[in-house]
């Protein structure tokens, strides 16, 4: 649910990073934060546990530039991936304009990826959204690790909708901005349909 302000000439869009625990959602936002000019970003807020697991959400506001004289602001959120934070994940999805699904490429995490994707669909449906219709992209993260599943296989497993996907190494930034750009693009084109 974007917010179009004709008075201050701003558009606000909400993008949520979803995925299983430890897949690298927070790391994506941290990299984006590090690599964005100070005047284009606000504070990165992380509501996390002592062990740096996301407890409620991470939040990063970005104002990358203008389109047609309107300041475009993206509000990036991550959900807490751990299974028992289900209630919080639902709340974060409220009013979402676009979703990035971050999958963990390690073999032993495939089941968690699938569970998380299922959880995403259910939570979206509860809010009256359909994953099939939402601006959406997938990042196959942790491609630097040794025990990973080939992307083609992951794609068969997780990318039923055949959306654009990216290989990522969030710790070094590989694929991070490509992923963000892909979902941002879809979000803005979605606005075009309605406004």
């Amino acid at each position: 649910m974007s917010f179009i302000n004709y008075s201050s000439r701003e558009i606000n869009c909400k993008i949520v990073y979803y995925g299983p625990g430890l897949c690298g959602k927070t790391t994506n936002l941290q990299y984006i934060y590090r690599r964005t000019n100070p005047e284009q970003k606000g504070k990165l807020i992380s509501l996390a546990t002592e062990s740096e697991r996301t407890l409620f959400f991470d939040f990063l506001p970005l104002a990358l530039g203008d389109i047609k004289g309107f300041r475009v602001r993206f509000h990036l959120y991550t959900v807490p991936g751990q299974v028992f934070y289900a209630a919080s994940r639902k709340l974060i999805l409220k009013g979402v304009d676009g979703v990035v699904f971050v999958a963990d490429s390690q073999l032993e995490r495939m089941e968690s990826n699938m569970e998380s994707l299922e959880d995403l669909k259910i939570n979206l449906a509860e809010q009256g959204y359909e994953l099939e219709k939402l601006p959406y992209t997938i990042q196959y993260n942790k491609r630097d690790l040794p025990n990973i599943v080939p992307v083609e296989e992951m794609d068969k497993l997780l990318n039923i909708r055949r959306v654009t996907w990216f290989e990522g190494v969030a710790v070094t930034g590989k694929g991070v901005f490509e992923t963000l750009k892909a979902v941002a693009r879809q979000v803005l084109f979605e606005l075009k349909k309605h406004y």
């Binding site: 179009i4 909400k14 506001p61 047609k68 919080s88 941002a184």
Partner: protein, 164 residues
Amino acid sequence: MSDSNLVMYEEEFRKIDAELQKLHQQSNAKVVFLVDKNGQLIASAGETHDIDTTSLASLTAGNIAATGGIARLLGEKEFTILFHEGEKDNIHISLIGQRIILVVIFDSRSSLGLVRLRVKKTSDAIGKIFNEITQKVEKDKGEGKLEESIFAEISDEDIDNLFR
């Protein structure tokens, strides 16, 4: 889903701004601001310069969302007012309708009683303004006005420029 997108026009923005200024003065508050339930700042009044309003907006919305979640678990509707008391500053958070959050930050120059009283008046006024906006959006949509306005010509190049 995009039907529920929040839109703000110049005219209504000025009205809302005036209401917030009035509330700020009459309640002796430090800062007042308006946030949508998704954490986006709509307007503010008062000493905002040394406050990170963007972060505040998103955390306030998170707060409302979390307590709303708790309310549902308890079979309550929604907690429409939250109040946090600090050593110096206090924060009063209230829901207007189902999607707007009004936040008042005040210290000992004001009181909870005064804030509550003034918030109630402002909420009614702002609730009305948002109804006006909804009607306007419906009308503009009906006439196809919004389509022409800005996004019709968004191109890949525009998006590339954002990510240079």
